[in-house]
Amino acid sequence: MTRTPYWAAFTDGIRRTMAAPAELAVRIGFFAVILVVFSSLWRAATQANGGVIQGYGYRELLWYVIAAEGCVIATKPRLIEEIGDDIGNGDIAIDMLRPVSVVSFRMAAEMGEAVVRLVCALSLGAVFGLLSVSAPPSLEGLLAALPAALLAVGCNLTMQYSFAAAAFWVEDAKSTWFLYQKLIFLLGGMLLPLELLPESLAGIARLLPFWTTAYVPARLLSGHAEWQLLIVQLGWLIVLVAAALAAFRAGEKRLVVTGG
């Protein structure tokens, strides 16, 4: 493969994450705790509902949680705040002095870091799932979930960059990370499958991009081989990349950096 600056940033992101095993271990350890808690919750919930909730049995729900939480935990939880800080304090100027697209270069590096976390999280999740409830319900669903997990991380990153770009216009935009997380929890399907939401809310969630970050890979891994969801994800990824690029292009013209 050609070693473009973006590929270099991606591989460097992988290297950087692997060079900090303690940080990685903490995050994956946290993921393990979430799996234990959610598996207990869903076991109790399904037992109380005759074994199935909105078409999901305990086995399906556990694989759903593994994919949904694994994909979200792969990205930095407060990335929006980090980017907002760099815009606010002018550190982004250093990136602007390189002959690359600022947002593409940073996203490539973030993607490299996220891929390592994703592989670790899903590997741990796979062991947990196999020991708890046996293999994922559908091989086809599993095959579709793998590219969907990568696309989910890509959508999450690009969406966070689009949100963070607000810092070019609004002083305290970095605080939107809190709102963003809640949207991913609820409308992204991270907390529970969209089928379990009130119908109107689920309908709204399907019109927004958040569900690409958790629900889509989770739905696929829980045995629903709906390949069209990959197309939806890909479509949103294109839109979100275009939005992030446009927002940064416009924002860079408005950048205010005073002092040294």
Partner: protein
């Protein structure tokens, strides 16, 4: 040929105060040019508009009005083309990745500038030798001292052989030895590669050692533009002496020297160097008084700038 041409460049920032938005003019219609291979000091007090000017010339900020070209490129609209040919070094912002070693950062920068692997490795070694920094390259950046880090920053800024180097307060926070070493390296790079140097600094020694020409900016306007030797002759007409005596002098009376202040055995003196050489003052002090310690200082840059600012129209 001019490396940098600036015409009536203006930058206004919107600020908010007491709920009202107002415009502050950081740069007010500056015009100048810098020749290829020139070493220019671009100085002024805090808030004068120096950093804003540099940021417009490197394409980070868009001007409100006016025009500029650097190496023929309009910085703010052709930034990605321009930055292939310029180097930048900001004393207060690092371009190195703290978690990596300097060499790993250089390799990543080499990819960013699309340098061939072999050329990049050769260039890193060359710069390491030139800047006496090779032994620092394999240490994690976060473990380097400020002086060591600045040598690595300078290496990073030179990887792609820039034709213009912008330096914004590059020696801030460095010790005396590290500062002098850094200045020597900048001059060496200029002389060996004919690289244009555009320097802002509050340190008079940076300006005296590195620059041949000086532009003074205040309140966003250029108020002085001449070569450094002329400035030194016409404006650096005083030196400060900090003297500590072993015993209190009976009456300190020296021609062309004023006592600025004293406390106990310590005296701060102003020597009017246009009337008397610093050497003869030092000789007299050492011969006639029991001196425990003595240091010679330049007056603060702010003072010189004030003098320029208050001087009649040149």
């Amino acid at each position: 040929m001019a490396a940098i041409e600036v015409t009536n460049l203006v930058k206004r920032f919107a600020t908010k105060g007491r709920g009202r938005r107002s415009l502050v003019e950081a740069v007010s219609g500056i015009t100048f040019s810098v020749e290829d291979g020139e070493r220019l000091a671009y100085i002024g007090p805090n808030g004068a508009g120096k950093s804003t000017s540099i940021k417009m010339l490197t394409g980070i900020l868009h001007p409100t009005e006016g025009h500029a070209t650097v190496l023929g490129y309009i910085p703010w609209s052709e930034r990605r083309k321009l930055v292939r040919h310029i180097g930048t070094l900001f004393g207060q912002r690092s371009q190195l990745w703290a978690q990596l070693t300097a060499r790993q950062t250089f390799r990543l920068l080499a990819r960013i500038y699309r340098l061939d692997d072999r050329d990049a490795a050769r260039r890193i070694e060359e710069l390491g030798e030139l800047l006496e920094a090779t032994t620092l390259f394999d240490v994690p950046v976060k473990s380097l001292s400020l002086g060591q880090r600045m040598r690595c920053e300078l290496t990073a800024s030179q990887l792609h052989s820039p034709r213009v180097l912008f330096l914004d307060e590059p020696t801030i926070g460095l010790g005396l030895v590290a500062k002098q070493r850094f200045r020597e390296m900048i001059v060496r790079l200029n002389e060996e590669r004919n690289m244009t140097v555009f320097l802002t600094s509050h340190d008079v020694s940076d300006i005296e050692y590195v620059a041949r020409r000086v532009i003074v900016i205040n309140h966003g306007r250029i108020i002085y533009d001449d070569d450094v030797s002329s400035m030194r002759r016409s404006l650096l007409r005083t030196k400060l002496l900090e003297v500590r005596f072993e015993e209190a002098p009976r009456a300190l009376s020296l021609d062309s020297v004023e006592v600025l202040k004293h406390s106990g055995l310590g005296y701060k003196l102003v020597v009017h160097t246009s009337q008397r050489s610093i050497r003869s003052v030092l000789d007299e002090l050492l011969d006639d008084y029991s001196v425990a310690d003595i240091s010679v200082l330049d007056p603060p840059l702010e003072e010189i700038i004030t003098e320029i600012y208050e001087a009649p129209q040149r």
